[in-house]
Symmetry: C2
Subunit: 218 residues, 2 copies
C-alpha cells in the first residue's frame, strides 16, 4: 500500500459519502458481471440516479483517478473501493446478547464478506453458555476480559435487552472495545474516543410505517 493511500485512509470521510460509496460498488460489480471494463461517473449516475458531480466528489476521497473519456477501470475501482470501505480487512468482533436478533446476526455469514468476523459471543443464559451457533462459541459474559486477551478484537456488537444496554457498553469499553455496533433502540453513552454505530432496525421500521401511512392516506 502506498503512503498516499495510507494518508487517504485516515481522512474522516463524511458519513453521507460513506453511505453512498457501497451503492457505487454494488453497481460497478454488476457492470463487471455484464462484461464491462470501464465506467464513468456519468454512467453510474444514470444507473442509480445520483448527480454525476456528487459521484465524482465522493470518489475523490478514494485513491483512484479516472481517465478522460473512458472513465475508471472497473477491476481497479472495485478493489480500491472494497479496500477503502474496509471490506477486505477482516475486523474481528465480539457479540453481546444472544437473543433473537443476536442469534440472527451470528447466523449471517454475509457480514464476513464485508469485513466483519464475529469470533465469539457472550451471554449469561446457562442453556447458551458453552454452545456454538454457526460455529461461533458462546461464552459466559464474565469471561469477556479473559477472551479479550485471547482474540484481537476491538469491535463489540450490542444486541442485549435495553435494560442492560448501558451497563454492557460500559463493561465492553472498560475491557478495551473501541467501537460499538449498537442494534438496540437504546441511546448508549460512551467516552469521546469510542465509536458508536447505531443500527436500530426498529427506528427504520418506524420511518417506513410513517411513510407508508402517509402515502396511503394523502
Amino acid at each position: 500500500m502506498s503512503s498516499l493511500s495510507q494518508h487517504k485512509e485516515v481522512l474522516r470521510v463524511p458519513e453521507p459519502t460513506l453511505r453512498r460509496l457501497p451503492w457505487y460498488l454494488s453497481n460497478v460489480k454488476l457492470l463487471k458481471q455484464k462484461g464491462e471494463r470501464y465506467v464513468s461517473s456519468t454512467q453510474i449516475s444514470k444507473e442509480i440516479n445520483i448527480d454525476a458531480s456528487q459521484i465524482a466528489k465522493d470518489l475523490s476521497y478514494v485513491n483512484i483517478t479516472g481517465r478522460t473519456r473512458v472513465g475508471y477501470e472497473i477491476d481497479t475501482l472495485i478493489a480500491v473501493l472494497e479496500d477503502f470501505l474496509g471490506f477486505t480487512n477482516l475486523h474481528k468482533a465480539f457479540l453481546f446478547g444472544v437473543g433473537s436478533l443476536g442469534g440472527a446476526l451470528l447466523g449471517d455469514s454475509g457480514l464476513k464478506h464485508f469485513g466483519l468476523e464475529i469470533v465469539a459471543a457472550f451471554d449469561v443464559k446457562p442453556e447458551l453458555v458453552g454452545t456454538t451457533l454457526n460455529g461461533i462459541p458462546i461464552f459466559h459474559s464474565d469471561e469477556f476480559e479473559a477472551k479479550m486477551r485471547d482474540y484481537r478484537v476491538n469491535i463489540g456488537v450490542l444486541t442485549v435487552p435495553i435494560e442492560i444496554a448501558q451497563q454492557i457498553t460500559d463493561y465492553m469499553v472498560a475491557g478495551g472495545i473501541r467501537a460499538v455496533w449498537n442494534f438496540t433502540p437504546f441511546r448508549i453513552r460512551v467516552p469521546e474516543d469510542i465509536v458508536v454505530q447505531n443500527t436500530s432496525l426498529y427506528a427504520h421500521l418506524a420511518v417506513m410505517f410513517n411513510r407508508l401511512n402517509f402515502n396511503e392516506i394523502k
Copy 2:
C-alpha cells in the same frame, strides 16, 4: 382513536424525529421499570444527552401533552409513542431471498414486537421451497402474486443478491407491494408513490470502520 390522533398520524414526520422517538420510548420504558410514574423532557434530556427543547419539539408531533412541573405520565407516553411509531399494529410483510441475511431476519422474532410480521418468504432454491423457517413458510417466487391474494401484505423485505435486486423490486411493486425494506447494498429505483427504507448493514460497517481507523491513527 380520536380524530385528532388520526390527523396526527398522517403527518409526514421528519426522519430525524422518527429516529429519535424510539430512543425516548426505550428510555421511558426503563424509567417505568424503575417505578417512575412521570417524566419530563428535561429528565429524558439528562439521560440521553439530547436538548430538552429538541425532545419537546419531537414529542409535539405525538398526540400527548405534559403537565406543568410533573411532565408526561409514563404509561400514557409509552402507549402513545408505541402507537405513533406503528409498533402496536402488526404490519404483514413478505421477504424475498432466503440467503444468509434473509434467513437471519426470518429467525428474528423480535421484529414482531415492533410491528413487523413476516408472514411468508420467497426464493427459487429447490431445497428451500416448501420448507418453513421459524414457522414461516417459504414459497417459490413464482407464487408471489397468488400469495398476495391470500395475505394482506403491503411491505416487502428485500434480501436478494444485488444482481436481481432491481428485478425483484419491480416484480414486488407490480404485484402490489407499497413499501420495500431494502437490506441489499444496491440502490433500487421505484415509482414515486412507493416507500423505500434502506437498511444497509454494509454501509453502516463502512462508516464504523472508517471512524475506528480515524480514531486509532489520529
